[in-house]
Symmetry: C2
Subunit: 323 residues, 2 copies
Amino acid sequence: MSDIAAIEAAAERLRGHATVTPMLSSPFLDEIAGRRVLVKAECLQKTGSFKYRGARSALSALDPDAARRGVLAMSSGNHAQGVALAARELGIAATILMPSDAPRLKLDNTAALGATVVTYDRETADRDALGRGIAEERGLTLIPPFDHADVIAGQGTCGLEIARQAAEAGVGAAEVLVCCGGGGLSAGIALALEARAPDLRVRTVEPEGFDDVARSLAAGTRLRNDRTTGSAADAILTPAPGELTYPILRRLAGPGLAVSDDAAFRAMAAAFLRLKIVLEPGGAVALAAALFLPEALEAETVIAVATGGNVDPDVFARALATL
Amino acid sequence: MSDIAAIEAAAERLRGHATVTPMLSSPFLDEIAGRRVLVKAECLQKTGSFKYRGARSALSALDPDAARRGVLAMSSGNHAQGVALAARELGIAATILMPSDAPRLKLDNTAALGATVVTYDRETADRDALGRGIAEERGLTLIPPFDHADVIAGQGTCGLEIARQAAEAGVGAAEVLVCCGGGGLSAGIALALEARAPDLRVRTVEPEGFDDVARSLAAGTRLRNDRTTGSAADAILTPAPGELTYPILRRLAGPGLAVSDDAAFRAMAAAFLRLKIVLEPGGAVALAAALFLPEALEAETVIAVATGGNVDPDVFARALATL
């Protein structure tokens, strides 16, 4: 069950392990956006993305027997690294199933953190069947990237921090823009804010052409993307909203937003220049919406969650070239 | 008088204005360094460097009459931006005297923050005489970049945070490496740690060839640099240790360290890759020493203060090219 009690319990398990990431601001960003912009810099989380929160939450909730057998995760990269590090910290063996075209940096980091990496072809293989097969064969517990109560609760700890930091910054009401793939972070934050800061409302942000969550929220039913490749925002290209995350988002979040790759690159450049943080394209779409979709927003203050920074240098150079 | 009471008072004036910057870590950095590395990410401070702390501290301590007349600062860039933003927030007019060869980004930002920028030729002009002349003519209060009790107290608030965050991370004893120009931040942190975490010892880090503080600490008397141009670490090229900062550093800090520009660039790349923060060369020398001078360090844990991130994209690209 994903609720505020589960999020509070996850926060207790994460205390002293997850980084309390800062809420950053710059008068230059306020000027671009035409409103006050606060950026929750979750790219500064351990392993460079928020995914460590959910991974550590789920792994620290395993019973001793399951922990002894080990875990399996399937991920294009950020969830993989989060699971790998949390597993290493907790002394749990991790096997990670990753697409062979994942960014080099994410593949390398996952292996370097001590996980066993198994790759597959994203276009031809049935990842879920492959993963279930390996998990059953080896007795591993599957740690899904978003559709899992303990993962959602872990991501929700980011929402607890947003509620507290917004209050400290004197923000009573705001739109909270969250980069959205399967919806684990968006749903977790929405649950935390419902309980702790009900005037902060979550709005999902996705890449244009991959806006399954926005379309699903508008239609009132889960819709799929036609493709899961073809955007620079590789970290958040998922086929459809989650079974667990969608009902939470439908109740608490929206309307969803979508931005172009070009806007994501320009947001990466603005984050470099004005906040001194490194974002990957998929971690920059919320900031892109905050800066470049002023007419789609209503609140005087917008909080953009900058979710990840695991970007190869050549992709980062593309962003800097927009300056 | 610079002491812990002055630092606590400055912290009170800065509360809710300065960012509490995070202490970051990565297992990959620990592996490079061969010891535990914590990075105080002061590049995430408002205006992209720690200088905002000292500026806000000094400006908020002005008497109403001085505040009404306005302030003057002389700076290659980071102090300039800190004074400009703090002045704007407090409704104080700021004039900034900057070298004409300062990084474009720093010149532009200072002007965009509402300050009146006056440029001079670093090789030929007598900056101090020029500044004193303008200040006297216009009745402005000079806000020095480091040799001023309220500035040192403001920088010391970073030390209060380090003491608390080190304790939270379970660190009892450590070497605290601080990028050092005139010594305002190093001295402020050293005073805060003396009172709050006496087993954390400050060691200054400077660019090779510009290690006036290290040589002065070794000699027991203030020595000058031959030059103040010729390193990529432009932010911390100062002629000599300060009159106020040197006695504090002599009592509490050292021995001083120095690193090459190449090491600073490689530290910038490591910070990009592993911490997702943007550093300028002068803000990266402490991390460079933590990573690449293992034999010069003694403690099992080292805390590197990453002091600034105001770097032009082409200089940042040079750092990424080392990957």
